[in-house]
């Protein structure tokens, strides 16, 4: 029995407890839709993605016996005949199951050029007798393609056979495990450059939206209501038109014989159309335009709450307008600025559509390469690793932001 305050009879206590339970249930019902969304559209996919980036059981499922046999292979020369025979048997089975193509893709990722080797080997082993393979499999395999006599090939098979591996993360940062197991630079350096470029572009876009958005929000926040509402319509206008339409509008403007180029030609600033579309420049330009509202709205909301008496007080005390702005207004509007900057930066780091449409090769960002690996190269594991890395990057940046600016300094209104 719990303690009951004097004057509170058990029936009262029960009633009060029932009331509390009812409130809790109500509160829970109110947030349920949000919770469901978060779990199904956020937590679950991200967990799957994180798992997928380190877990790839395809090869392990296709040739489990070969991999067991390869277990105590030294890695120095061609594996034992038992391994080769087992692999030949597996190849024959896969050729008949029509699963050899999957193996070809997977091994090709570990060692480029292996796709055709695997496929042709599978073809030539398909009709060979089982007893023949059991006795003479090793020779048949090497006869089908002499690359099976190369230890490097078997290293690749063994590497691809690992169900859990960090190799996708290594690839994401342009590293790989060399033949001796050491981590070395890959020949092709793509992803680190792409990450840096993505961050740099996001930073430029954020700075541009600040430069454009801050004065606008300032003017709107201290203009008359009717003026502010009028301008707000223009700020929100992009939200009411489809993203595709806005992006295509930029294509119409920037293309070789588009509005901008024909104007420049007409006034004689250039005598040749400029390369504007399908560049980093066009991506940054279009994204600045599209993301501007995300900067203006939180800034406006915060500035709206800053009474003009603060600036006046500062000036009455002898501060020049610019000094008063820097010392008084800027710190007071910082919560809005932080919120806007964080919003724009994070959105642009993961932006996909606009760079895909107006970016060309030069203006691609990390999301575009992730999409490429999911849609075209079918390398979901690498896509997952790249995505996870992006997530980590953003979390780190958020942490840094929290350290230096403080998240309690964020205000959306």
């Amino acid at each position: 029995m719990t303690d009951i305050a004097p004057g509170l009879i058990p029936a009262d206590a029960r009633n009060a407890a029932r009331e509390v339970r009812k409130r809790k249930l109500q509160a829970f019902l109110f947030v349920t839709p949000l919770l469901v969304f978060v779990i199904f559209a956020f937590v679950a996919p991200i967990t799957t993605m994180l798992y997928r980036s380190i877990h790839n059981p395809t090869v392990a499922n296709l040739i489990p016996d070969t991999l067991v046999a390869l277990g105590d292979w030294s890695g120095e020369e061609i594996p034992d005949d038992t391994v080769l025979i087992q692999f030949a048997a597996d190849m024959k089975r896969m050729a008949n199951d029509r699963t050899s193509g999957q193996l070809a893709d997977e091994i090709n990722r570990a060692l480029p050029g292996m796709s055709s080797v695997v496929k042709s080997t599978a073809r030539s082993l398909r009709r060979v007798d089982d007893t023949e393979i059991a006795t003479n499999g090793a020779a048949l395999l090497i006869e089908a393609n002499d690359r099976w006599a190369d230890p490097a090939t078997w290293s690749a098979v063994k590497a691809a056979g690992q169900a859990y591996s960090t190799s996708y993360y290594l690839t994401s940062v342009d590293l790989e495990r060399g033949p001796d197991g050491n981590i070395v630079q890959r020949d092709t350096q793509i992803y680190v450059k792409l990450y840096t470029k993505t961050l740099r572009m996001a930073l430029i876009i954020t700075v541009l939206t600040i430069l454009l958005g801050y004065p606008l929000a300032f003017y709107m926040a201290h203009a008359s209501d009717s003026m502010a509402n009028f301008l707000m319509v223009f700020v929100l206008l992009p939200f009411w038109t489809s993203l595709l339409v806005r992006t295509t509008a930029w294509i119409a403007l920037l293309q070789t014989n588009g509005v901008v180029n024909s104007t420049l030609l007409a006034i004689g600033i250039t005598d040749q159309p400029l390369e504007l579309l399908y560049t980093q420049f066009s991506t940054i330009l279009a994204m600045t335009h599209i993301l501007l509202p995300f900067m203006v709205l939180p800034l406006y909301a915060v500035m709206r709450g800053i009474d003009q008496s603060y600036m006046r007080a500062a000036m009455s005390m002898g501060s020049k307008p610019l000094g008063a702005w820097y010392k008084i207004y800027l710190p007071m509007s910082l919560p809005g600025l932080s919120a806007g900057a964080l919003l724009v930066f994070i959105i642009s780091v993961g932006y996909y559509i606009t760079p895909a449409l107006v970016g060309g090769t030069d203006g691609q960002m990390i999301s575009n390469i992730i999409a490429f690996h999911m849609q075209q190269s079918n390398n979901w594991e690498l896509a997952a690793a790249l995505g996870s890395l992006l997530l980590v990057l953003i979390l780190v940046l958020y942490w840094l932001f929290d350290r230096f600016v403080g998240t309690d300094n964020i205000k959306l209104g």
Binding site: S309, Y310, M317, G318, S319, G323, P331, M332
Partner: protein, 364 residues
């Protein structure tokens, strides 16, 4: 207290202001302020008091006319060069700075050496009795404390002129009285000139050297509190400052400083105000506390017959409501003692008062 300088320190010369190019919000504002005076702009909301203050501080432009400090026009001086301290109604303390940093701000702007700033801040914190609060943020202070910080911040750079726009408007009654006292004390101690804006007449009466009663963009009267109360120069001031009864009548004779007025309840003698002419309509104003109900031991020159309507018990005094034959209400304040009479409904009564306690204004 510093001696009031004899010559003008601040002068408004026919200052006008229009926000919309159509209507004048301030219509020809004239005032001379001497050094060290405590001037209050008192008027109903929307009468243009804040506008005058903002023009003086430089945050609103002057449409026409001239504002001069020490003989020099400041119309074209930037606000930050005017050296005018200001206390805002919402205090405008910088929320991201501590109290000490708030106080240091005007000194830092003036590039005063750090050590000196520290001493000065400590001195002014002590002056407003907040020595232990220097490290707090404004958000952690009570309303009265914030008010005192705002005051200290407006004074700390030793401006010759301090403007206050309804600085006590957000405080409750007790705190307001305490702060009125505080402001008066600091004004006497430091001797700066104050232009104080309020719509609260008790505040104006208790603090000011002179009050400018503002209505409709024009100064109706600018005079010391007692004169304003005792000798209002027109019916608006008489009605706005304190309570007043207005008895309508007709001027029958003007003799020197006094005037004879024929009212429905009898002929009365009153002080003469400007703009009266023999035979013209007028209204005689008498304060409720200057009226006595017959019989009385007080001296009187005038008597008026009225009917009792009702009485309201207020506590330390009782308010009697009478009606003139023409229906005009007359209020009498009587101290709550044994002499307070009882009346039946509609009973006749005689109200008595001195001719020197009433003024006849032209009927507006």
């Amino acid at each position: 207290m510093k001696d009031l300088g004899s010559e003008t320190f601040l002068r408004f010369d026919d200052v006008k202001k229009s926000y919309d190019q159509k209507n004048l919000v301030v219509k020809g504002f004239n005032m001379d302020v001497r050094d060290g005076e405590f001037i209050t702009l008192l008027g109903p909301s929307g009468s243009g008091k804040t506008t005058v203050l903002m023009m003086l501080a430089g945050f609103e432009s002057v449409t026409s006319g001239d504002i001069a400090i020490a003989g020099k026009s400041i119309n074209r001086t930037a606000p930050y060069k005017r050296n005018i301290g200001m206390v805002f109604q919402n205090y405008a303390l910088f929320p991201h700075m501590t109290v000490a940093e708030n106080l240091a701000y005007p000194l830092t702007v003036r590039k005063m050496p750090k050590a000196q700033i520290k001493d000065r801040v400590a001195e002014y914190l002590k002056l407003v009795e907040l020595s232990d609060f220097g490290d707090r943020r404004p958000g952690q202070l009570s309303g009265g404390q914030r008010q005192r910080v705002a005051l200290a911040r407006a004074m700390i750079f030793e401006p010759t002129l301090i403007l206050m726009d309804e600085p006590l408007g957000a405080l409750d009654k007790n705190l307001r009285e305490q702060m009125q006292f505080e402001i008066t004390r600091l004004h006497k101690q430091l001797g700066f000139t104050v232009i104080y804006v309020t719509h609260d007449q008790t505040e104006a009466l208790s603090m000011s050297s002179r009050i400018a009663v503002f209505n409709d963009g024009v100064v109706q009267q600018c005079a010391p509190p007692a004169e304003l109360y005792e000798r209002p120069s027109n019916a608006f001031v008489a009605g706005f400052i304190g309570e007043n009864n207005f008895v309508p009548g007709k001027v029958t004779a003007i003799q020197g400083n006094t005037v004879q007025v024929q009212t429905d309840g009898g002929t009365v003698v009153a002080q003469l105000a400007e703009g009266l002419s023999e035979g013209g309509p007028c209204q005689v104003s008498i304060r409720p506390e200057k009226l006595f109900i017959h019989p009385t031991t007080h001296a009187y020159d005038n008597a008026l017959t009225v009917r009792f309507n009702t009485r309201i018990y207020v506590g330390d005094f009782i308010r009697y409501y009478f009606k003139l034959p023409d229906g005009t209400d007359i209020i009498v304040k009587v101290l709550n003692d044994l002499s307070a009479p009882e009346f039946d409904d509609g009973a006749e009564a005689q109200l008595l008062w001195l001719a020197s306690d009433c003024i006849a204004f032209p009927a507006g």
